[in-house]
């Protein structure tokens, strides 16, 4: 992971702080009134200038010492906090960098790069929950045009989402990264992990599992690039080599359902033999049966999915769709409303509800769904 970090961060740290030097000016203004304070201000000026000079001359250790001394005099000096933290990060003193960045963001909580570097430091100290929280905050605030840093943040958010078992969100992010020009090679293992629903970081892959994960990633990426023949070859090799691994039949099955539904159904059923508690395979099968108007089979699978994952929005959505197809409009609406509550940004659920409310004559509710769909479909509106 260290290698990936360095590669992704690149030169992004060698940039000015995402803040002006207001702390420094304020210090001078406030402290310049008395003799003692004036001496302290002068000392701070000397130290801060020496620190900046040492940094620009690549005398990192000197710079670190000088920034620390200056910050002892003026703890809220934002520029100093930023440069000290970036130097510490580059020196791989991640815990120290993290502690300085916590002070930085406490003073300046609306700047994305500060949260980004804090999250990256916490990633290195293996405080993954905090790292994800802070990197997401950085994403929300923006990187101020720093493309390298934005790519790093997206990458680490994606791999952390997988580790926290949010596989769909992780996959969506990684596919979006590829669409925006990210080199797919770096994402083979992260995509493979998300596709196989394994909550591991790439650095946590055991050696004897790497091949399966890479095949899953390569297959998914080939499919994303619309290289269907290549994807099929990889997936079929994968199921032949690892027939008892959870997730591999699901991946191949999901691919085949679009091409040869009968083969896809066979693979999905095989997946459920290997992973009897797998929800996505049940949902894909239910969807296929719904398409084929085999409502009883679809209903049974959707009900099983809801029973297995009570709070799973896609499971409730599928059950809602199946119930409506079977003529149980009220029951279907109830399930769709549950799905909407769990995942309000899923457009498909809202379309389902719009149609169902219209059929039920609930014009106001239908109108509300229509408005929500328009909002979600607007740029930056949702999924």
């Amino acid at each position: 992971m260290r290698i990936a970090t360095v590669a992704l961060l690149g030169v992004s740290l060698a940039v000015p702080p995402p803040q002006d030097t207001s702390g420094q000016r304020a210090f001078g203004a406030v402290q310049g009134k008395t003799g003692a304070a004036s001496t302290a201000a002068s000392r701070f000026e000397q130290l801060s200038q020496a620190a900046n000079l040492a940094r620009t001359q690549d005398r990192d250790e000197d710079a670190i010492q000088l920034y620390r001394q200056a910050l002892d005099l003026q703890p809220g000096w934002k520029e100093g906090l930023w440069y000290l933290s970036t130097l510490l990060y580059e020196k791989e003193h991640y815990a120290d960098a993290r502690d300085v960045l916590r002070r930085f963001v406490a003073h300046d909580s609306d700047k994305g790069p500060g949260w980004a570097l804090l999250g990256l430091s916490e990633f290195q100290t293996r405080e993954y929950s905090r790292a994800l929280d802070h990197l997401r905050r950085a994403m929300a605030l923006g990187m101020g045009g720093r493309k390298d840093m934005a790519q790093s943040v997206f990458y680490f958010v994606a791999v952390l989402l997988t580790r926290f078992e949010q596989y769909s969100d992780s996959m969506s992010m990684m596919l979006a990264m590829i669409k925006s020009g990210q080199q797919p090679d770096l994402l083979v293992e992260p995509v493979g992990l998300a596709a196989l629903r394994m909550p591991l970081l790439p650095a946590e892959i055991p050696p004897d599992r790497r091949d399966t994960i890479r095949m899953a990633g390569q297959g998914a990426l080939a499919l994303e690039a619309e290289h269907r023949d290549e994807a099929e070859k990889i997936f079929s090799n994968m199921v032949a080599a690892y027939p008892n691994e959870p997730g591999v039949h699901f991946l191949y099955g999901a691919f085949l359902l679009d091409l040869r539904p009968d083969d896809g159904i066979r693979e999905m059923k095989r997946e459920l033999e290997v992973s009897p508690f797998q929800v996505p395979a049940r949902l894909r099968l239910a969807e296929e049966y719904l398409k084929e108007e085999k409502f009883d089979e679809a209903l049974s699978l959707a009900q099983q999915a809801v029973k297995l994952e009570l709070k799973d929005a896609p499971a409730h959505m599928m059950l809602g769709e199946v119930l409506i197809a079977k003529g149980d409009l009220a029951g279907g609406i109830q399930e769709l409303e549950t799905a909407e509550k769990e995942a309000p940004q899923t457009v498909r659920t809202r379309w389902d509800l719009l149609r169902a409310y219209t059929t039920a004559g609930r014009k106001d509710d239908a109108q509300r769904e229509k408005e929500e769909i328009e909002k979600l479909n607007a740029p930056g509106g949702g999924q």
Binding site: A106, R126, N244
Partner: protein, 385 residues
Amino acid sequence: MFVLFPFLALLFTADPALPRKPQKSFENIGTQADTARTSDHLDDAITLYSEGVRLRPSWSAGWWWLGSLLYEQDRFSESQAALQHFVAIARDPAPAYAFLGLCEYEMQDYDQAQHHFQLWARKGWPGTADLIDVAAFHWALLLTRKGRFLEALFLLATEAGKLHNSPALAEAMGLASLRMANLPEDYPPERREMVWLAGEAALNASLPSKEFDRADDYLRRLTLHYGQKPNVHYFRGTIFTFERKNEEAKAEFQAELQISPGNVPALLELARMDMDSNELSEAASLAKRATEIAPNDADAHHMMGRVLLATDQFQESARELEIAEQLAPDSATIRSHLALAYRRLGRTEEAKRETAAFLSLKEKEEVMAPPQEKTAVPKQAGPPK
């Protein structure tokens, strides 16, 4: 970890019993600090509380809120300093012990954190429900680190009933289940999948709905890939024991001994099973082997003492139990068996002494019991007086 428990949010709903602030300027600062805090202007609140406690170092509520807010900002050493002031002057500092433990955990001062969690628990687990959750969780991590796996699992299983599907909880349970004396932050990365599979098995088995089928599926995957690693079969055996699948459990404990012949917990589980089925000579052989492998293991001597007690070898039993008592003086059950051995030997006074110790320790041991069963302390979040 913090994200898992957004407990600070609950602190802000509190109705703190703020002491009166006689000086006007101090009063103004206090009022402004409270207003800043309740309107989510945390930086301003921290500045104002800092100013308030500078003017009035005896302002306990100020130290409390300052410590809490600094904790919210992950500024743990500063939070710790504020909370230490609070503890020094507050009439009832107990909830602060949990916060201190959390700060010290983050500062990697693990022994001190352990001390404060213990102190907090002895005071009856005071605090909001979320504070209790986060403190219990971190205490369990420290117990695992110390090798006190069963106590850790006891605490974590209590949390499982409340949090259900939580990746952090599963990871913590995985470490304790596999008897890995590590924190989530410091175990070898290549063991992550093993820890995850074990943790999911433990978590599903601990849910109020007892999802044993799902637990078994994770265990199957765990043994498929990691069946040659120490403690994997032992752990599977313990889950089968919960499921009352005794034959399967026994097979797993025996499989563990094939991989790790010196695995004392597996030996002791087998000895216990043999005792339960009245196969006392087998139990004695296993317990003896355990004491030979681990002469400083209280559980091994305890089991040996129990087997000897069951075979009416009271003198020898007392001797083994006395060793166990020396190794684990705080174990109530060892005292209970020792009292029984003394009684059988006619050593009445010693039996009475051990019985009294048992009763006292039993009460102390219950410090680990689920907090909601332990205490009727009101679930308020404001500063204690």
